[in-house]
């Protein structure tokens, strides 16, 4: 009896042998997150010098170059615009569609299954599909837009400095709006029905119900969806790589793509500096978001 009384779950798991359970995970985190992080810092103070064929210490040069480089500021603007616009459109569209298909009817179950399909297509391949569909001469989308008269007969999408980014964003919106739909539907399906019934009895209008009941109750689900989608939008590189390679000119460079492109131009230090900047921004913003939105794991 005495032995049973002294026993409690936390203490047996809390024994000093936690290391073997977590060691592989912690090793992976150190090798693939901590070491690259410090290596990035090291690289950001060095640069490959072609004349000497070596990586040499250059002090703060890369960082000074970063903050005076117009292309960098342009790519930062593109990344921010892309992240916020896609997030906003996907959230609004996703919420609309989620409210539409939130039902027990088995027909809507089929729709949810269909919507999962876009999410597992490799983004690079989704880019290829839209590359065909947005082709200037034979593509479906320019043809549609031209026949409706939205763009002129000589206009293109992906080669146009102002339209190119939207040509990329449309792929993201197509592929990832279902992400929002599925998460929000799952959230909606898990809500209790009593508050909604009593609100209807009290004569609340649908919009009031949505504002005062649905949104606050979905707060956690929406926060998680925004967090994960935001992370992936910020580091997106596949679509621009396939569709525009950053062009026309530098109109669709995102931070990740610009960093990769500098790397291939053997400006290793500068490429690493850009990626480090992008990493620091998302770590601060992401962790602050988790803290303030009170997302719990």
């Amino acid at each position: 009896m005495a032995a049973q009384k002294s026993y409690s779950l936390p203490s047996f798991m809390n024994s000093d042998s936690s290391l073997p359970w977590l060691l592989p995970l912690i090793t992976m985190l150190i090798v693939f997150a901590i070491i690259p992080f410090f290596y990035n810092i090291y690289l950001s103070f060095h640069e490959f010098v072609p004349a000497k064929r070596a990586l040499l210490f250059v002090g703060w040069d890369n960082w000074i170059r970063l903050f005076t480089d117009g292309v960098f500021w342009g790519s930062l603007k593109v990344s921010l615009y892309y992240t916020f616009m896609c997030l906003l459109i996907q959230l609004v569209l996703g919420m609309g569609i989620a409210l539409l298909i939130d039902s027990d009817d088995p027909g809507f179950g089929i729709i949810r299954s269909i919507l999962t399909l876009t999410l597992v297509i490799p983004p690079a391949i989704a880019g290829m599909i839209f590359l065909i569909m947005e082709d200037a001469n034979y593509g479906l989308i320019p043809w549609l837009l031209k026949s409706v008269g939205l763009i002129g007969p000589e206009d293109t999408i992906l080669a146009d400095p102002t339209l190119a980014l939207w040509g990329v964003m449309i792929v993201d919106i197509w592929q990832w709006t279902p992400f929002m739909v599925l998460i929000l539907v799952a959230g909606l399906r898990s809500l209790p029905s009593e508050p909604f019934e009593s609100a209807v009895i009290d004569g609340a209008r649908p919009f009031q119900v949505f504002r005062r009941l649905t949104l606050p109750m979905l707060h956690k689900v929406i926060a998680v969806a925004i967090l994960i989608r935001g992370i992936d939008l910020w580091r997106m590189v596949d679509y621009v790589f396939v569709l525009t390679s950053g062009g026309p000119g530098t109109a669709t460079y995102t931070l990740s793509l610009y960093s990769w492109q500098r790397f291939t131009f053997v400006q290793w230090g500068y490429g690493a500096t850009i990626s480090l900047f992008s990493l620091i921004v998302i770590l601060i913003v992401g962790n602050a978001f988790i803290h303030f939105a009170k997302v719990k794991w």
Binding site: L29, L119, V120, F130, I228
Partner: protein, 277 residues
């Protein structure tokens, strides 16, 4: 009724590009480049598939047009996907179980570190890793790519498995512990069988995310190893839409089958175990 029609037309919009891709792979070059685009009425033509996999050379002995032999690309993706998912699962099960059951001092810090790892822009890992791999000869090897994909999938696996283990009643552990079983034995003999479904879901989701990963596969794989997304992006330079469509059609069918098998848990996977369906 109106609601249903509206919902189905939205679903049609989302499925249309996939339909367009698959039909494009069966079009000949005349139908492919016709204006207005032919969506339904076209002559079915399998030559793209023959050329992509090099069948026509075997069957017809006709070397007149380009052949690509892309079977090995799909094999690359499979090796990397299954290899990295297996490794992810092994690491994830022990870590996920421990995080699920234990209360230790740095638990919150560990979870935040895992989430921070999920946030890292992959390019910021790939550039330093390129130099590290170059020094230790892991560039362009399966092992190198499997390791980095394992790291990419670990946050998903650990947190998702934790959420599945949370659902297994702690009473099971307690009873077995009182009976004198060791912790490792409890996990192997009792908890893993209870969480079989969750483990299978994690495995499949890891394969899918390895299958779709782009930038690390691009930088770590060089000449020998090209996963499917890399090969697709290279085919951009070959002005042959039907071959591109045939290759991508073949490459997305396995993921479609996999995802329909685990559809019920997909949302949970996407949200790292926080939102259940």
């Amino acid at each position: 009724m109106i609601r249903k029609i509206l919902a189905f037309s939205i679903a049609l919009i989302f499925i249309f590009p996939i339909f367009f891709l698959i039909t494009s792979s069966f079009k000949n070059n005349i139908d492919l480049f016709s204006i207005p685009p032919k969506l339904f009425l076209f002559d079915i033509d399998f030559s793209a598939y023959e050329r992509v996999f090099g069948f026509s050379k075997l069957l017809k002995f006709d070397p007149s047009y380009g052949e690509l032999y892309l079977t090995s690309r799909i094999l690359d993706s499979l090796i990397v996907g299954i290899g990295s998912s297996s490794l992810t699962l092994i690491i994830g099960i022990y870590a996920g179980y421990y995080i699920s059951r234990a209360n230790f001092k740095y638990k919150n810090f560990l979870i935040m570190s895992i989430l921070s790892a999920r946030m890292m822009p992959l390019i910021s890992i790939a550039i330093p890793l390129y130099f590290v791999y170059e020094k230790i000869n892991l560039l362009d090897t399966y092992v190198g790519l499997i390791l980095i994909h394992t790291f990419i999938n670990l946050p998903l696996a650990v947190l998702l498995l934790k959420s599945f283990f949370d659902e297994v009643p702690k009473q099971i552990d307690e009873n077995a512990f009182i009976d004198g079983a060791s912790k490792i034995k409890i996990l192997h003999k009792l908890i893993i069988p209870c969480a079989k479904g969750g483990i299978a879901v994690t495995f499949i989701l890891s394969i899918i995310f390895s299958w779709t990963e782009f930038i690390c596969a691009l930088m770590i794989g060089q000449m020998k190893i090209k996963t499917i997304p890399i090969q697709a992006s290279i085919m951009k330079t070959i002005p042959s839409w039907d071959m591109m469509a045939a290759f991508t059609t073949i490459s997305i069918i396995p993921v479609f089958i996999m995802i329909l098998a685990v559809r019920k848990h997909f949302v949970r996977g996407l949200t790292l175990g926080t939102v259940k369906e």
